[in-house]
């Protein structure tokens, strides 16, 4: 398994996403996964070999490195990318579940579809999608916080260390600190952009839903023939209900004549 297989796994997600979601996925793959694989792993490649402490005491460098880097940036970002891309699989699972229900319905009801379009974000799928966006933003923010808590987004040139078995306070020198700082800032900015996009997408979806609801309410007040559409029913059921209501209304009109 490598990053490309993750890409294949998530390839099917974009068809169920909004435009924001597709942009988000592209940002993740181009600015985070690609940069991670191509650049960042090379920069951090020799982080322990070139972590030199000003002492001949064996083991001092190991211990000081361990104290200063409890978990390496590279591993943190790898875990962050994995956790951030997983919630989209919830949406895929929900759509697959709907497709399965649809198939069962078709065999029992001979051709009638339960869901006109299983990927349409109505009813339960809307909530699953919103939940997945919240998880994505949450995981991203969580990992950013861990990075801040451990390293304050900084990479100093030299650190001081007094751990056993170092005989005194030794100076330890990190390899390529400036380059690492640049890439750290780059990853922080791209994570922030992704969080921002998730939040925008959440607001966009909620806004859409509120507008639809208000429009329906307004139509209901103005249009006396309006039939309430059940928001929890599927689109086909709603359509068939509307048609039945129309037919019933037409019958009532034609009866007196």
């Amino acid at each position: 398994m490598n990053w490309m297989s993750l890409q294949v796994l998530l390839g099917g997600v974009s068809q169920y996403s909004t435009a924001f979601g597709r942009v988000w996925l592209s940002v993740v793959f181009v600015f985070r996964v690609l940069v991670f694989v191509v650049a960042i792993q090379q920069v951090w490649n020799d982080e322990q070999k070139d972590f030199i402490c000003n002492t001949a005491q064996p083991g001092c460098a190991n211990v000081c490195y361990n104290k200063f880097f409890p978990i390496s940036h590279v591993r943190l970002w790898a875990l962050q990318i994995i956790f951030v891309t997983c919630p989209s699989l919830m949406v895929v699972a929900h759509v697959k579940y709907r497709e399965m229900k649809d198939e069962k319905y078709i065999t029992l009801h001979k051709g009638d579809h339960l869901y006109v379009n299983p990927g349409k974000k109505r009813g339960g799928l809307w909530y699953t999608y919103i939940l997945s966006l919240m998880f994505k933003a949450g995981f991203d923010a969580g990992f950013l916080y861990i990075l801040y808590f451990l390293y304050h987004f900084d990479m100093p040139n030299v650190t001081k260390c007094t751990e056993e078995p170092c005989p005194n306070t030794v100076d330890c020198y990190i390899s390529r600190p400036t380059e690492k700082k640049i890439f750290t800032l780059f990853m922080v900015v791209s994570s922030s952009v992704c969080i921002f996009m998730c939040i925008c997408e959440i607001f966009y979806l909620i806004n859409n839903k509120v507008r639809k609801f208000l429009r329906k309410r307004r139509d209901r007040i103005t249009d006396s023939n309006y039939r309430r559409v059940d928001p929890t029913a599927s689109s086909t059921q709603n359509l068939s209900n509307l048609e039945k209501a129309k037919a019933a209304a037409e019958e009532k009109e034609s009866e007196p004549t």
Partner: protein, 356 residues
């Protein structure tokens, strides 16, 4: 980075035939174990031996102490764990492939018989027999795998084996290393001149990943246990429902119209007694792996199920037998039509059995 694509391809095939719980387990396996292992864990453990420094100049001491502290590296240990834990799923897949193979053969036979039928010959009895067999061995029912008989026991066995392997590996890991790594290991082994301190690389990071992999193993184990109880309860519910249907249909016996030219099931009509026996006899005479897994009650229940399902779907099931032939002769006719193997033993592997 190791190449997991071979295992990945095999497990992908299983996805289509798993229950929902099985699919979640497979996703957890792929994403949180294999992917994390390949991307993060292997790079964290990358320099474990080169950065293992001992406080001595004695050549060979570091090698010996590293070997003593880490009889098997964590990475290799987790690789073995993943392979062992995926193996029972592959057993389940091989059973499914075997059944698919059988179904294909039956389909081919059916095609041939239909060809013969179109030329005018009467092969209805044989066709009926093939339909019964297909029903018995049929894998898919409305897109979902039919979990009963042989497949059910294979699936349960695979879940049990998976759980056992997880527990065994967790116990071995706990016994060898515990679930943390300390920064310093003391070591006194030839050729080290005295007790030396040896320093690991990145012990904190490694501890974080050890705990992460431990949590994922426990989650997988929990999923297995949950799946086990779910499948068993579902099966019990199905069996209770079936026996309730049997009871109902036994209570609602009405005589069928006498002017039938062929035996058939009609709505609310009792089945003529011989026909279930017919199906039953066909089964017991047949040589196959699955028939040993079916006990007589399951056979009868299946048959009644089939008829009830057909009733529910509003179809009548006709069993065209010649009018004047008595039942005993029917059975004899069937037995003569297709050569039966003499032995009922079915546990030997046959040359045309499954290829994976």
């Amino acid at each position: 980075m190791g190449d997991w694509s071979a295992l990945g391809k095999l497990l992908d095939k299983v996805q289509a035939y798993s229950t929902a719980g099985g699919k979640v387990w497979l996703s957890v396996l792929f994403i949180f174990r294999i992917l994390v292992l390949g991307t993060a864990v292997e790079s964290a453990w990358g320099d474990e031996q080169s950065a293992f420094k001992c406080n001595t100049l004695q050549p060979g001491c570091e090698n010996v102490c590293y070997d003593k502290s880490f009889p098997i590296s964590h990475v290799r240990f987790w690789v073995l764990q993943i392979i062992f834990v995926s193996m029972p799923t592959l057993l389940y897949l091989s059973h499914i492939v075997f059944l698919m193979h059988k179904e294909e053969k039956l389909n081919k036979k059916e095609e041939k018989l239909r060809d013969i039928q179109s030329k005018g010959e009467d092969v209805d009895v044989l066709l009926r027999k093939i339909e019964i067999k297909k029903f018995k061995y049929g894998l898919e029912d409305r897109g979902k795998i039919k979990m009963r008989g042989g497949i059910f026991y294979t699936y349960i066995m695979s879940i049990v084996l998976k759980s056992i392997f997880e527990v065994v590996f967790l116990l071995i890991q706990w016994h060898l290393y515990g679930f943390t790594l300390s920064a310093v290991y003391t070591c006194q082994k030839f050729p080290c001149p005295h007790k030396v301190d040896c320093f690991l690389s990145r012990p904190t990071e490694k501890t974080v990943f050890i705990i992460f992999m431990l949590v994922v193993s426990l989650v997988s184990l929990a999923l297995n246990v949950f799946e086990f109880f779910y499948v068993i309860l579902k099966r019990m519910k199905d069996q209770i429902r079936e026996s309730a249907k049997n009871f109902e249909s036994a209570c609602n016996i009405k005589p069928c119209p006498r002017n039938l030219s062929s035996y058939g099931y009609y709505n609310d009509c009792s089945a003529p007694a011989p026909v279930p026996n017919l199906g039953y006899n066909l089964d017991t005479g047949d040589k196959s792996n699955s028939s040993d897994n079916y006990d007589k009650q399951a056979n009868e229940q299946n048959w009644t199920n089939y008829s009830t399902e057909q009733n529910q779907l509003g179809q009548t099931q006709r069993f065209p037998y010649p009018e004047k032939v008595t039942l005993g002769k029917d059975l004899l006719l069937l037995k003569e039509l297709e050569p039966r193997p003499s032995s009922r033993a079915s546990s030997r592997a046959r040359p045309d059995d499954l290829d994976i």
